[in-house]
Symmetry: C2
Subunit: 416 residues, 2 copies
């Protein structure tokens, strides 16, 4: 007998061929019904969520984790609203990307098409369930959701609601399926489900993403981890630098585009270092410093090799003095996670060298790394932030969930 | 001590950061030197190739395989010429793909950048060595080549010549490296060389590609296998269909965009089946048929399940009667390799349904599948034909060897 993953994979694949030919109007109508149904099913969703919260409390989960799982009227309304916003976005499917007319009359069109079947493995937050389901639907993809056990009842209630909505539309309910078995085995099965999956997207902490990237043999869209740096060059403007460092570190320390490290040119540090560290300390930031920093700023905790590679996601920053621009670039390419990296400098040649040589999805000159975000970039939706180099890099909007197809029109052409 | 693969991986990664900032002129100058040096080193290359041929003969290799390995004056000149043609192609690196100007003055540019380090695993043909090295160089990537043992001496001579050329240029010689140890272990090491590889491209037969796709945890660009079909619909024009079937099957049966299967509507088959099969037979094509075909065309060999999934790469075709368009689509999506698929029909609705529903890189209406080719599409170079859906699908030109990077220019912007 096929496993749950196998069976749902097979159904998703078959459904993907039906979704292929659905119109934008049909997909948007389904999204409208989903937004409505989520509100209709509010009581059932909240009651299922209560079960998850009760179990979570029994298991001694932290308040922070419980808050991530928690759903209430406002959060469900916010989900429904996000679905409404998705309806307004342009449908990338069918978009003409290239057109070649050959001398023999052959017309070659390259168009955006759905990827097919997307699987998403994610942790805690049940809003990802609705988010992933509706982004996939908008782009004509079938989706297989594999949430965590801590949100199991919530996820079942949400997917039940979505499928109830789809029943009233032209979209088959198998377009959105949840793997209810949240054991490790089902995740591992998804890692290798070559026959049915076109892409696997992990959303969650570093441990999850590392595991997927290490083990999966299906194509993966790697999202996330951000061990980001600001390099302060010799000629950096102090007030811009201070403002940007504070913003990039403290505006929302728990997100991937917040910075974790400062690399500072020695001459700049000599002049402004104490002032900057004082400002950061006043903003409740704990300073971890290399040897030189600790000599000047005795309150700093000494940094070790591990600090350079750590995404604190907290009000904590690792500060290191680098000899020059080149050492900064080398350090970032060695310890960074290829997410968002910034240089503060008034020297445009240094800026160009940094922007070209640093290996990251987004590189900044004199601006906060916090802008790396699909909504900030104006994409209207975000699948996640890709830190890989194939297919999509940086904030991914709807086009990241598409592939391409060459459609070729002839009237009897053969190759000579 | 690091292995050969580890050590060359490390060097390639370090070199990729240098290649990042090389200009088009510097890269083209290196290509010019390579084209020249290959001609200068002709005698050495041919003598190394002789060693491979001698060993191959001793091991009882077929004439076909020996011919694939063989290099002579003409073939080396052809290689040098291909490098010259590459120089003339536009450099995709730096190309502006998107520009966003935000109200706060932030300028976000999305530009094409090199992937970084490309590894290529391939079989026999030593011309792939030069091809891969120069395509990678043109796009600013460092490349690690892992050819087969049967062309070992030839590959060493070719890479030596390429490195000798690079010595005279701004490009470090480590931009092009060959893994000399051709044991299975070095291939397996490349499958998992996450730390240094940005992409692994297998070029060769189905067995090699299947192995890479199944085992590799590094990102893969899957090229190649083509189990292609032509579906002949009820309303297909006979003379167009005959011409296209003969072309797609016989013009060059050993390549991936040649067809292996005919799916025929029963009404069309009743009227034209015998005539078409006769024509194919006269073109020396062996007919494998399903039950219905065998009843009409008694010379046909009976087809089994395996035939439907086989890429013959030979003057052999599997013919099956399908009930209608939908059975044809289902059969292709089940047994095809998502490469090139064609429909012959005068019914434009049927054509649209086929083109949308068939899951392949290139889908044709009334034209030969043999056009799926980077040169035919006007790309001027071809990395291979991707049958995967992420990153690149179909014939891959130079842009397939690029990634993107957001470069963001500010003057003190922070996120509110």
């Amino acid at each position: 007998m096929p496993s749950e993953v196998q069976e749902k994979g097979r159904l998703a694949k078959a459904t993907s061929y039906i979704l292929n030919i659905k119109t934008t109007a049909e997909k948007n109508q389904a999204l409208t019904k989903i937004a409505e149904q989520l509100l209709v099913d509010q009581a059932a969703i909240i009651s299922a969520n209560d079960k998850d919260l009760t179990i979570g409390k029994e298991q001694g989960m932290s308040t922070a984790v419980l808050d991530r799982i928690m759903l209430n009227k406002e959060r469900i309304e916010a989900m429904a609203q996000a679905v409404q916003q998705l309806i307004a976005l342009p449908d990338p499917i069918g978009h003409l990307l290239e057109r070649i007319e050959k001398e023999n009359g052959l017309i070659i069109e390259k168009r955006a098409v759905p990827l097919g079947v997307i699987a998403m493995i994610y942790e805690a937050r049940p809003n990802v369930t609705v988010d992933a389901a509706t982004l996939a639907l908008k782009t004509g993809n079938a989706v297989i959701l594999r949430g965590s056990s801590s949100a199991k009842h919530s996820n079942i209630a949400l997917v039940t609601s979505i499928q109830r909505a789809l029943e009233k539309t032209a979209i088959p309910i198998e377009a959105v399926q949840l793997i209810e078995d949240t054991s490790r085995e089902t995740a591992k099965e998804l890692f290798h489900l070559k026959e049915y999956l076109d892409v696997l997207i992990p959303r969650g902490g570093k441990a999850l993403i590392d595991l997927v990237v290490k083990e999966a043999t299906v194509p993966v869209l790697e999202t996330g981890a951000g061990n980001c740096h600001i390099y302060i060059d010799e000629t950096a403007d102090y007030s811009q630098t201070e403002k940007i460092c504070v913003n990039a570190k403290t505006q929302r320390p728990s997100v991937c585009n917040a910075i974790e490290n400062l690399l500072i040119h020695p001459i700049w540090f000599q002049q402004y270092g104490t002032q900057l560290l004082q400002t950061l300390q006043q903003a409740n930031v704990t300073i971890i410093g290399d040897e030189k920093v600790c000599q000047t700023w005795t309150a700093a905790q000494p940094a070790n090799e591990e600090d350079y590679a750590t995404e604190y996601l907290d009000l904590k920053i690792c500060v290191k003095i680098v000899e020059n621009l080149y050492e900064a670039i080398e350090h970032i390419n060695r310890y960074g996670t290829h997410h968002s990296e910034a240089i503060m400098t008034e020297d445009s040649l240094a800026a160009t060298t940094f922007l070209k040589s640093v290996d990251a999805a987004a590189v900044y000159h004199n601006a906060s790394t916090r802008f790396t975000d699909g909504f900030e970039f104006g994409y209207g939706a975000e699948i996640g932030i890709s830190t890989q180099k194939l297919h999509a890099r940086g904030p991914m909007g709807l086009p990241a969930l598409t592939s391409t197809k060459y459609m070729i029109y002839g009237d009897g052409q053969i190759r000579e």
